[in-house]
């Protein structure tokens, strides 16, 4: 093993133990590793931003004669004005452009990439031609119906509108309320699955680190 790998393995081993010291509670060793991680990550991000974004995508094009890049350069400089409250208004246009462009991209992608696609995917199980191709059309339809019910129940759960009746408490319609309850169940299962995934990720990290500790010096 190269010496560099050995050094970085030792560093990784020590830092891993320091992180595991959090088992006994918050302690300076844990904080040292945390700060070190944040610092290294920030430095790495700065270097990457300079060498991966500013120089090749902002300065270099101007040097090559692409003067249209001056516009993003100016917008970027105006964005720096946000650091000074007296001149922060100068970066509003840049911020507006970023938010607008990002929102548009997100909305477009969400509608086209998620909403329509998922809606289509919801309908697809009920496609008998496809169900025949799968060999188990009933199960596909049942699965499709289950997904549909789960999807609708979840949407009904987030339905908070209700009619106001005299001398009665505000209460959603019974169907909406029942669908909401059902949707609440689907949400709970989803969150459980997500929590299990989080635990799985954490256990995977622990396993990987313990495996690292076990295999680090196993040459």
């Amino acid at each position: 093993m190269p010496s560099a790998d050995l050094i970085w393995t030792i560093v990784g081993f020590v830092l891993t133990l320091l992180i595991l010291s959090h088992i006994i509670g918050d302690n300076p060793l844990f904080r040292i590793v945390t700060y070190l991680f944040v610092g290294v990550a920030s430095g790495a991000v700065a270097v990457i931003a300079i060498y991966q974004v500013i120089w090749p995508k902002l300065i270099l094009p101007i040097l090559r004669g692409d003067y249209l890049t001056i516009i993003p350069l100016v917008l970027s400089l105006l964005l720096v004005a946000k650091l000074f409250p007296r001149y922060s208004a100068a970066g509003n246009f840049t911020m507006a452009y970023l938010v607008g462009a990002g929102a548009a991209v997100a909305v477009g992608g969400a509608v086209m990439g998620t909403l329509i696609s998922q809606s289509r995917a919801l309908i697809t199980p009920f496609d008998l031609s496809s169900a025949v191709q799968s060999g188990s059309p009933v199960m596909q339809i049942v699965e499709g119906a289950f997904i549909l019910i789960g999807t609708l129940a979840t949407l009904f759960y987030f339905q908070f509108s209700a009619k106001v009746q005299a001398n009665q408490s505000v209460k959603r319609p019974a169907f909406v309320e029942t669908a909401g309850k059902l949707g609440q169940g689907f949400i709970a299962v989803t969150f459980g699955a997500l929590l299990a995934g989080v635990f799985g990720s954490a256990i995977a990290a622990l396993v990987e680190r313990l495996a690292f500790l076990l295999t680090a010096f196993r040459f």
Binding site: I23, I24, S117, A121, L194, G197, V207, E208
Partner: protein, 880 residues
């Protein structure tokens, strides 16, 4: 004062000579000069008012006008100077009589009776009142001859006198009765014309004493001449009025001047000083003779005078006091300072004067004024008088008249008029000391006066009405005057109250119209309160006894007791309730509250350590093969299968194809992601796939280097485009134009688009497959939403962490993602599918134990929490 004229021979003597060079008689320089001035009518420096002097000079009878008989008497007396004879002494006594006494002499000699009151006696008595001559009245008071005389007995000289008076009146003199003050005019004439028989008797007695009748006639003519001259010399009176004369003197003078203008020949008020002057002149002239004839039988007159002096010694004192203003020299020598006059007017009559002034010849008293213009007796009088006010408080004038029942009030005289009368009294004393007839000496006895006074003197009541109080009331009158006054029927009439009552009775109440009454100022109507300051009387110092002199403030009255403020706070009921509420709140805050004991962190730490240890053991034990690995799942997830199928499909990924590898995970989850993706990278590497690495996370390119290195990928087949900025936007741009979106590599070189590793790749659809390594479902979604549409049907595979897989699975179901490999379990399943052994397979047991233990711990924790909650609830229900 250059020369001194002898009063006997009228010879001018050089100044400073004490005796006359002609007759050898002693000279009275000052008085003689003063008398000379009077006789000459010349202006004297002793008189302060030139006009008056001039007038006096005009009116004064010149010395040449002295009657011949008087000249003869004087010459005879000079001839008989060395041989005093009874007649001579009598003559001298007659000469020595002052005018006022001469006026009195016929009156007294006339012996006025009740019958003669209607004719002459009443007139001359009235003249006495008007002449303000208490001494003269007293001289007349001895009324022994009053009963004897009749008008028929009037001697010739009296008739001559009467004729002379009638001639005078005929010459145009204003009748005395027509004068404003009748009483003043009559005494000059009436006594001369009335009781001639009594005069004759009186003269007979006098002649019997002296042994010669002729001289008596001469003497009677002499004093009648003096009487006449007195009327003439009355014009000299004004010089007596110095500028500094007090008010009462001024009033008297004013009245005298008015009368003098009207009847200069018969003005008794003016006769008073004039007569005194003349009298003094006579006395002054007779003094030497009196002194020389001390052993002569004529000394009986002196005897009775001595007797008079002895009897009336107390009365002479005020007489001398009153004499002071009559002295012209002192008045002038006083340099117009009438203090002594003022003091005489204001001070009580008991001012002491040396008795010598009375007993000794008046000439001695007249010598004194030569010393700085003030006689010794005046000088003696002044210092004796000075301390008097300090010793005795000044009493109101109105309080005095009780002692002076015989005040001039009883005679109907005003205060101003009575002042000269008091002077007359003082003048009579020295004159009486010289030569007075016995009947005059008897005037000192008070007993014979009673009948006379009671008959002649009007009742005191009207007198008191007319004269409330005079300055002379305090000057003191002789005792014989007092005694005579005591005999008056109404001595109480002098009181202020009686005066007021009497005046009130005579006065009618004013009847003011209503409009006039309404116009009266309030100050005049409203009673004026006497302030405390006015009431305050000095008790010490030179102002002792005086009230209201010094302004003073009652300092004690200025200090007011400070108001007392109650310290008790007045609180309403509402405020009291609020205060009690605040008090209760504060008391509650101050009371210690039981703080629940904080749970110790030791059990939690132990629990946490225990859990960690269990997990570590659960993970390590399978690694160390202390625990058998759990059996792998026989049923793999469909998406995993799809993933392996896609990668394994050479139609999709032919050998040497370009695959875009996107690392969208963070360093924290690099262990799982590396484990999960290691098999995939290795498979791709085995297929000589050209890998192009890109990441929207800054740390992605670095992790990619580590991943590729760990997977053993040949870097020649790898292009690390580095960091793609812009998030979803950057992905969209990268999806639309990857060359422009990622122009450079991580090493700073231009991306080898369409060359080398990226040969034939200028768009995303040129990649055979896109494998997204992500632990974040959002990043995975972004790739699906932004890049997947740009892939052109190329497969989008995802290697995700266990936590991101549930959220990315719908995209697999939708067909947007062709396969998903999630976590270590998925990697192990992939390896199982590919029949390779990798790290995931090795760690799968640990991971499974860890996941199992975690699930158990979650269940155990949930169970314990449920039990504790149920217990607490049951306790709460039981407690409730």
């Amino acid at each position: 004062m250059a020369d001194i004229r002898c009063s006997h021979c009228l010879t001018l003597n050089s100044a400073g000579s004490e005796t006359c060079k002609n007759c050898g008689r002693p000279l009275l320089d000052e008085s003689a000069g003063w008398l000379d001035n009077l006789r000459d009518g010349s202006d004297s420096s002793a008189w302060s008012e030139p006009e008056t002097n001039a007038k006096a000079g005009d009116d004064a009878q010149p010395a040449e006008e002295i009657p011949d008989w008087l000249q003869r008497i004087r010459q005879r007396s000079q001839e008989e100077q060395g041989q005093p004879q009874p007649f001579e002494s009598a003559d001298q006594a007659e000469d020595a009589l002052p005018d006022w006494l001469q006026n009195l002499t016929p009156a007294s000699s006339t012996e006025p009776s009740a019958e003669t009151e209607d004719t002459g006696d009443a007139n001359w008595l009235q003249s006495l009142r008007g002449a303000e001559q208490p001494s003269a009245l007293e001289a007349d008071a001895p009324g022994e001859p009053l009963d004897a005389g009749t008008a028929d007995e009037t001697p010739d000289w009296l008739r001559n006198m009467q004729n002379w008076q009638e001639d005078t009146q005929a010459q145009g003199a204003v009748p005395a009765a027509e004068q404003p003050i009748d009483e003043f005019a009559q005494p000059a004439s009436e006594p001369l014309a009335s009781p001639q028989e009594e005069d004759q008797d009186w003269l007979a007695k006098l002649a019997a004493q002296t042994g010669s009748a002729l001289p008596v006639e001469d003497a009677g003519a002499d004093w009648l001449a003096n009487l006449e001259g007195g009327g003439e010399s009355s014009a000299v009176v004004p010089p007596i009025q110095p500028s500094g004369v007090t008010d009462w003197l001024g009033k008297l003078d004013e009245g005298d001047e008015a009368e003098k203008e009207a009847a200069p020949a018969a003005e008794p008020p003016f006769n008073l000083p004039e007569e005194t002057t003349s009298g003094s002149a006579f006395s002054w002239e007779s003094e030497p003779s009196a002194a020389e004839s001390a052993a002569a039988p004529e000394n009986e007159s002196i005897d009775w005078l001595h007797e008079f002096q002895h009897q009336e010694a107390p009365a002479q004192e005020p007489a001398l006091e009153a004499q002071a203003p009559e002295e012209p020299e002192p008045v002038n020598a006083a340099a117009d300072i009438p203090n002594w006059l003022g003091s005489l007017a204001t001070q009580e009559p008991q001012e002491t004067i040396p008795a010598e002034g009375m007993g000794e010849p008046s000439g001695e008293a007249f010598e004194l004024p030569a010393q700085e213009g003030m006689p010794d007796w005046l000088q003696n009088y002044t210092p004796a008088e000075t301390p008097a006010p300090a010793e005795e408080p000044i009493l109101p004038i109105s309080e005095e008249p009780q002692e002076e029942t015989f005040s001039w009030q009883s005679l109907g005289m005003s205060a101003a008029e009575s002042a000269p009368a008091a002077e007359e009294a003082t003048e009579a004393a020295p004159f009486a000391a010289s030569d007075l007839p016995e009947w005059l000496g008897q005037s000192g006895s008070s007993t014979p006066q009673y009948a006379f006074d009671q008959d002649l003197i009007p009742p005191a009541e009207p007198a008191s009405q007319l004269q409330p109080a005079t300055p002379f009331a305090q000057t003191g009158l002789p005792d014989w005057l007092d005694e005579s006054g005591l005999a008056l029927p109404a001595p109480e009439a002098t009181g202020d109250e009686q005066l007021t009552e009497g005046s009130d009775e005579n006065l009618e109440a004013a009847d003011l119209p209503s409009w006039l009454q309404s116009m009266r100022p309030i100050e005049m109507v409203a009673p004026k309160a006497v302030s405390a300051e006015e009431k305050k009387t000095e008790k010490a110092g030179p102002l002792a006894g005086l009230s209201g002199v010094l302004p003073s403030e009652d300092l004690i009255g200025q200090y007011i007791k400070p108001p007392l403020y109650s310290v008790k706070l007045r609180v309403s009921e509402k405020q009291r309730v609020h205060a009690s509420l605040i008090e209760s709140l504060i008391s509650e805050e101050s009371q210690p509250q039981t703080v629940s004991a904080e749970r110790s962190e030791a059990p939690q730490r132990v629990l946490r350590f225990l859990v960690a240890a269990i997990l570590i053991l659960a993970v390590l034990l399978p690694m160390l093969n202390f625990l058998p690995a759990l059996p792998a799942a026989s049923i793999l997830p469909q998406e995993l299968i799809a993933f392996e199928t896609t990668l394994s499909d050479e139609a999709v990924l032919p050998r040497g194809s370009a695959v875009l590898l996107a690392l969208e995970y963070e360093p924290g989850l690099s262990g799982e992601m590396q484990t999960a993706s290691e098999a995939v990278i290795r498979q791709l590497a085995e297929n000589d796939t050209r890998l192009t690495v890109i990441s929207t996370s800054p740390t992605g390119p670095i992790l990619a280097e580590s991943l590729l290195a760990k997977a053993g990928v040949d870097p020649a087949f790898v292009v690390n485009l580095g960091y793609l900025a812009g998030g979803s936007t950057g992905l969209q741009s990268f999806g639309l134009a990857p060359v422009q979106a990622a122009p450079a590599t991580l090493q700073g070189q231009l991306a080898p688009w369409n060359s080398g590793t990226l040969a034939g790749v200028t768009r995303l659809s040129d990649f055979s497959a896109v494998v997204v390594l992500t632990d974040d479902p959002d990043k995975g979604r972004n790739w699906v939403e932004q890049v997947q549409p740009a892939l052109g049907g190329k497969p989008l595979l995802m290697v995700s962490s266990a936590q991101a897989a549930p959220l990315l699975l719908p995209y697999y179901n939708s067909g947007q993602v062709q396969g998903i490999l999630s976590g270590i379990t998925g990697a192990a399943g992939y390896e199982a599918l590919t029949q390779s052994i990798g790290t995931a397979s090795l760690l799968r047991g640990s991971y499974q134990y860890g996941m199992l233990l975690t699930a158990l711990l979650i269940l155990l924790g949930s169970l314990i929490t449920g039990i504790i909650t149920s217990i607490s609830r049951s306790k709460a229900e039981k407690e409730a």
